[in-house]
Symmetry: none
């Protein structure tokens, strides 16, 4: 039996509540004094909780593989991240709060500067001199007004990002994601023509060709941003919802668009948060506690400061979350998991391959003896090391939401 | 996405250097005083290194499976040992320093004694009375001279081994490895006729039939070695090179032919070592340090003494290597792994299924607190227990040679 069908068969709907706290990029590496960010942080509440919990380390993908947020979150939500691929175009659109549904083709775009030379276009600047975001907004509006529909009833949606970046969503029948980037990656070259790498992609190629020719006409007289390069063509993946697979009623408490988008891809309700502060996220959780059986609670800044290489600031975010933990616990979840989606050690200033500290609180765990939540305690934890996609089944089991297999 | 394509996608070439030290058969079992060979050995350098490293245990194949050197080394080199099979014929040829390339058919041979009885051949001695190696050399020369080419332009190469053993390599178009052994395994039986277990094997059957009939004519008047039995028909596996898969520039420092052969199968350069002593291997490493990004450094004697059941001698080899470790470290590798390919406990006088102690040194590990490198420290190590084929991706990651998956 395949893994997803196993859960389809065994999952049962119950009222017990699971709280999954994701401190983005939580895992770290030792700093000068030999302690990681999590070890350096003063976390009396998580440490106390650890002694009523089981600890372990989770691997987002596999040994040595550093994941982006797409695959690492899919794994946390219980899906095999190598089975369901989330393309770059999809992530770009999600990050700009574009609503996506199955069958949509999602693309990342750059405004660029081109020049005609002997009747051929040559890319002079792949980023159009990093035009200001205001200019980007103006240009996207212009494109949107002129190119609402193209080809055989395909809707185009242009959404401005920062500087020269934008997202493009194409919605219509029979679109395919098997198109190569038109970005030649180096200046002085011609933009590539749209080209399909699968037989079914020809219709999509025709649509994109028409779109590019319209774009070129519309932008022709712009000084800098006189054309676009398209990358990361990808179909919205056909992922079964958490409700279908796990019989959960899931909701997301997250402030950043990309994470909200990822949550929506697996069918979570997106709860409104009034502001970017952690306290506002907690209020949201409290307000909607009665209506769901699974909550994804996302803390972004651990990752952001890790990416900045700011060890101390990452420590402070962990401590701030720890201060709010009693409020979360007082809601009375049957199961709490606290973990990261991937590690973001300040030392590496980026995502890394190191496994995630994972804490599982439930009356039904074999408890740790010690009061400490850290990478090293987790490495020696009762749960051992396991793939991150198995964390959700573990939470389900501890919430008594999985039936017995066989008799 | 399949595992090998994942690495094809993510691997990047950089100048950082990885040193993989394989103490063959390193892992052991407790002797009379309760210590394993590694625990009994005085290893101040490895113990000190352990406190700057992460430890774990690696499983060559899976729980309870004792590997030969072929699969265990493939795993260490980052390949799935159950995906790429290395046949007995291939190993026998590699062990006798026969050059092999893709498309070659490799076979193990025995000289044997047969007798005609009612017009049929019957095996009297499957090992031809263990003829002296000198006789073997003489006979292989005779066969080689008479049977240089057979069938439709197939080259045969006979290489003498010890006593009655030899290796046969067939090189030509359209050969297949799906032939059954001609060795009936019991005396008093007829040698089996060559028989294919796949449809495409018929050409190979005809070639082997012709070869056997020529051999029989040539050896007919020999007193003991008057025929041959063939076993382990196997094609040289089509393994993508480490350069192709991992974008490494790999080199092997090993003195024994089989290990050099295994390294060549995955595309390593074989560095010349002037002598069999460990010190000579270290000199070779020093001499070629600038030219490669991955070094496989093989120490054979740990395994040999394990096979002999000589606990103390195995301890002394481990200690001798430990004494040379500072010289290796002074070369400045970014990543060092020290491990075995499989365990060879003196107590079992042979390979075993026990997982390998594994030490990973890099600035980017979550470090161990203790100064000890032993099976038991590794069992509680920060890296946990994992498949040996994931060790190479881990080394790659720590050498910053793997890009992020997804965004």
């Amino acid at each position: 039996m395949d893994r997803e069908n196993l859960f389809r068969d065994l999952a049962v709907e119950t009222d017990s509540k699971i709280l999954l706290v994701v401190l983005d990029g939580l895992g770290g590496l030792p700093g000068d004094d030999g302690k990681t960010e999590l070890e350096a942080a003063w976390t009396p509440n998580m440490d106390e909780l650890a002694s009523h919990s089981a600890l372990g380390l989770t691997h987002p993908i596999s040994y040595g593989i550093t994941p982006g947020s797409g695959p690492s979150h899919l794994a946390l939500f219980g899906y095999d991240p190598l089975k369901h691929e989330i393309g770059r175009g999809v992530l770009e659109n999600l990050g700009l709060e574009v609503e996506l549904k199955k069958g949509d083709l999602a693309v990342r775009g750059n405004f660029c500067t081109v020049k005609e030379r002997n009747g051929r276009l040559v890319v002079l600047d792949r980023r159009a001199g990093r035009i200001p975001t205001e200019k980007n907004i103006e240009l996207c509006k212009k494109l949107q007004e002129a190119i609402g529909k193209i080809g055989d009833n395909v809707e185009a949606l242009f959404t401005p990002g920062m500087e020269h970046r934008f997202a493009l969503r194409l919605r219509g029948e029979g679109l395919e994601g098997c198109l190569e980037d038109t970005d030649p990656q180096h200046e002085g070259l011609e933009p590539f023509l749209p080209r399909a790498t699968c037989l079914q992609g020809e219709k999509t190629v025709a649509v994109v060709e028409e779109l590019l020719s319209m774009v070129r006409k519309l932008l022709k007289n712009e000084e800098k941003a006189n054309f676009v390069l398209l990358r990361g063509f990808s179909m919205v993946p056909n992922i079964p919802s958490m409700e279908e697979l796990f019989k959960l009623r899931p909701a997301a408490v997250a402030t950043y668009p990309m994470y909200r988008g990822l949550a929506r891809l697996v069918g979570m309700d997106l709860l409104p948060v009034e502001g970017m502060e952690l306290e506002r996220e907690v209020e949201t959780l409290e307000r909607h506690w009665g209506n769901y059986t699974f909550f994804y609670f996302h803390v972004k800044k651990t990752d952001s400061y890790g990416e900045d290489g700011n060890f101390q600031a990452k420590v402070r975010v962990i401590e701030a979350f720890d201060g709010l933990l009693p409020q979360l616990l007082s809601l009375g979840p049957q199961v709490v998991a606290i973990t990261g989606d991937h590690s973001t050690p300040s030392k590496l200033r980026g995502h890394s391959w190191h496994p995630n500290p994972f804490l599982l609180f439930s009356p039904y765990v074999r408890r740790e003896a010690q009061q400490v939540f850290s990478e090293r305690a987790c490495a020696r934890g009762i749960l051992g090391q396991f793939p991150a996609m198995e964390a959700l089944p573990l939470m389900m089991a501890h919430a008594l939401k999985l039936k017995k297999l066989g008799a």
